[in-house]
């Protein structure tokens, strides 16, 4: 449905470089990245609000790179909604229909239809200045959807809203997108938002795509350290492969600063310098000294650490630990039962090979 091929675009010191992207028909795709990474610029290139320097943008089989925004048949919801302040809610929603010179009855019928779909009947006739953030968002969405276009482009559509409304609107966006069979591209810097809506996502950094995949891919198998950090993985350990892989296809690696002698086993044939990643929520902690048999079985998957801090983050507990490596664990309250809370207490971190992801030479 949407194909971005080798797109380059420069503005000032910033440049989108060699962006290649495919979004399938009916897919909900999220463009992720920190502020300034080029998400909005890429979306505006798709809209036709910026003329690309080179490459192709294909929407529904049609190369639209040289077409004006109005010829691209896209529905666009900009950041902060950009409702027309001199027009009422009704007039904002009907704006695109009136440009098509539809008769009044048809305009009213289509406005009523989208208003009912979004449940914003109570807002009709009001000035946009008097709307709350969530109401503005719904009106902006209605203004875009009323045109019945197949591609919906959303620029940070919920970033200005509070947490509860954000979740509600994300769910509404997702269900609308499915019900109407839309292909959606949604720009966001917020991971929770992306998890709520995305079929697939891409991470951008300084105008370059870093990785494209499902949110699970990005979370569990980040392509590089930047993606891992963006996906809030704090445990990125420098490591070095020791010896060749064994019969099971696992390699022993030494981890820690100066490869301090802690050994772990990772899946895959690795060599040279690496990065070993373990997500904080995958880290398992033990407080009591395990049995000799358990240690014999898991010896090369454990690290002895000391608790530096234990913080209650509401839905989980955060353990910060030091030792041969610094590690952070996020545990549910029930999983943390029986673990020490005192600073300096000894803990054993268990890192089985299936929980570790390796970056580097494989």
């Amino acid at each position: 449905m949407i194909d971005v091929k080798q797109v380059n675009y420069g503005v000032g010191q910033f440049a989108l470089q060699q962006v290649d992207l495919h979004v399938g028909e009916g897919e909900y795709f999220v463009l992720l990245g920190p502020p300034g990474s080029g998400k909005t610029v890429l979306l505006e290139c798709l809209c036709g609000l910026r003329r690309i320097d080179s490459g192709r943008i294909v929407l529904g089989g049609r190369d639209v790179a040289q077409l004006e925004p109005r010829q691209r048949q896209i529905a666009y919801v900009p950041q902060d909604y950009a409702l027309f302040p001199h027009r009422s809610v009704d007039s904002n929603i009907a704006f695109g229909l009136r440009r098509q010179r539809l008769d009044k009855a048809e305009v009213k019928r289509r406005v009523d239809e989208v208003v009912e779909m979004l449940g914003i009947g109570s807002l009709l006739g009001r000035s946009v200045a008097a709307l709350s953030g969530g109401e503005k968002q719904r009106v902006a969405l209605a203004r875009a959807l009323v045109l019945r276009r197949k591609v919906l482009l959303l620029d940070e559509p919920v970033c200005a809203l509070d947490e509860a409304i954000r979740q509600e609107i994300c769910s509404q966006l997702r269900s609308l997108q499915r019900r109407l069979g839309l292909t959606a591209v949604h720009v966001s810097h917020n991971l929770e938002e992306a998890f709520l809506v995305a079929d697939r996502a891409a991470v951008l950094r300084d105008g370059r795509l870093q990785q494209v995949g499902t949110m699970s891919d990005l979370l569990r198998r980040p392509a590089n350290e930047f993606v891992a950090r963006f996906m809030r993985c704090e445990n990125i350990l420098p490591a070095r492969a020791i010896g060749p892989a064994d019969m099971e296809g696992q390699t022993t690696v030494a981890v820690g600063e100066g490869n301090a002698g802690v050994r772990l086993r990772v899946i895959g044939r690795c060599k040279g310098e690496l990065r070993v990643i373990v997500r904080p929520e995958n880290l398992r902690l033990l407080s009591t000294r395990p049995s000799a048999q358990w240690l014999a079985e898991h010896g090369e998957s454990t690290i002895r650490l000391r608790l530096a801090a234990r913080k209650d983050c509401g839905s989980y507990l955060r353990f910060e630990m030091t030792g041969p490596v610094r590690l952070t664990a996020h545990l549910s309250h029930s999983a943390a039962d029986g673990l020490p809370a005192d600073e300096g207490a000894e803990l054993l971190a268990w890192l089985p090979p299936e929980d570790l992801h390796v970056l580097g030479s494989q």
Binding site: E44, C47, G48, L49, E68, P69, R70, R72, I74, A75, Y76, P78, Q79, D80, A82, F84, P85, H86, F95, G96, R99, Q100, S127, A129, A130, S132, R143, L147
Partner: protein, 274 residues
């Protein structure tokens, strides 16, 4: 839900109130000073001068000429201000800074110099003579010249105001309009122009006010022919020049009254925040 139109007042300390009081002191000082000037004029003028002003046909002619030429030049100013202001606000082109400065020049021109420059242009240059003689569009000693002088002096004010108004219109609104089916012109017509209307109207008022009170360049380019090129401001100048100070001040009060009524009516009718 908070009504957006309701002004908010933050809690403030005595320093804050003192600061606000300082502002009001200057507001009061300025408005009282202007009011005192008008009152002084009114006290100086006697009934005979007022009778003379109100009963003279040349005063009514001059008033009518002042009103319609200043409105025409303000309208002409807006006609230029909208496209020029929009272009300067939206389009980047080489030499924009120079163009910007040239557009502002008439604001700082001494009005007499404008009159002299126009006279030299239409009487001494080939292009000016071609316009006057061959095209037959005569400005020197003609009413068209009144409008031209007023336009040259006041259009820059309208342009400056329109440009600032377009600068204040969020470009994203135009961008959204582009995706909703508008071309550039449609986005301008349906979004930018309505949103900039207050600034454009403010510029039109400035241009009208500047034109209404103008007389220096008019004396040079069109002279002061009673019933033909004499505007009210010229009449004031001529009356005081021959020693009829009371009549000049009575005429001045008439101009102030017309301006006051016009400005108030525009504000009330338009509901504009000018």
């Amino acid at each position: 839900m908070v009504k957006a139109s309701r002004p908010t007042t933050a809690v403030c300390s005595w320093q804050g109130r003192l600061f606000a009081a300082g502002g009001f002191f200057f507001v009061a000082l300025f408005t009282l000073f202007i009011a005192a000037l008008i009152v002084a004029d009114a006290l100086y003028v006697d009934a005979a001068a007022v009778r003379k002003v109100l009963s003279s046909s040349y005063v009514l002619d001059a008033l009518w000429l002042s009103v319609w030429t200043s409105l025409a030049s303000a309208a002409l100013g807006v006609l230029f201000a909208v496209p020029v202001g929009y272009s300067l606000s939206r389009f980047h082109f080489p030499g924009r800074v120079v163009v910007d400065s040239i557009i502002d020049l008439p604001i700082v021109f001494p009005p007499l110099v404008v009159g002299l420059t126009l006279l030299v242009f239409f009487s001494q240059t080939g292009l000016g003579r071609w316009i006057q003689d061959d095209l037959g569009i005569e400005f020197i000693f003609q009413r068209k010249g009144v409008i031209l002088c007023q336009f040259v002096v006041s259009a820059s004010l309208a342009i400056r105001s329109a440009r600032t108004a377009f600068d204040d219109v969020d470009r994203r609104l135009e961008n959204v309009a582009l995706t909703l089916g508008c071309g550039r012109m449609g986005a301008f017509w349906h979004v930018s122009l309505p949103l900039a209307r207050n600034g454009i109207a403010a510029g039109a008022i400035l241009a009208w006010a500047r034109s209404f009170g103008l007389f220096g360049p008019l004396l040079i380019l069109v002279g002061s022919f009673r019933g033909r090129t004499e505007v009210l401001a010229t009449t004031v100048f001529l009356e005081q020049a021959v020693g009829h100070v009371e009549v000049a001040l009575a005429l001045g009060l008439l101009m102030i009254l017309v301006a006051l009524v016009a400005l108030t009516v525009i504000r009330l009718l338009g509901g504009l925040r000018l």
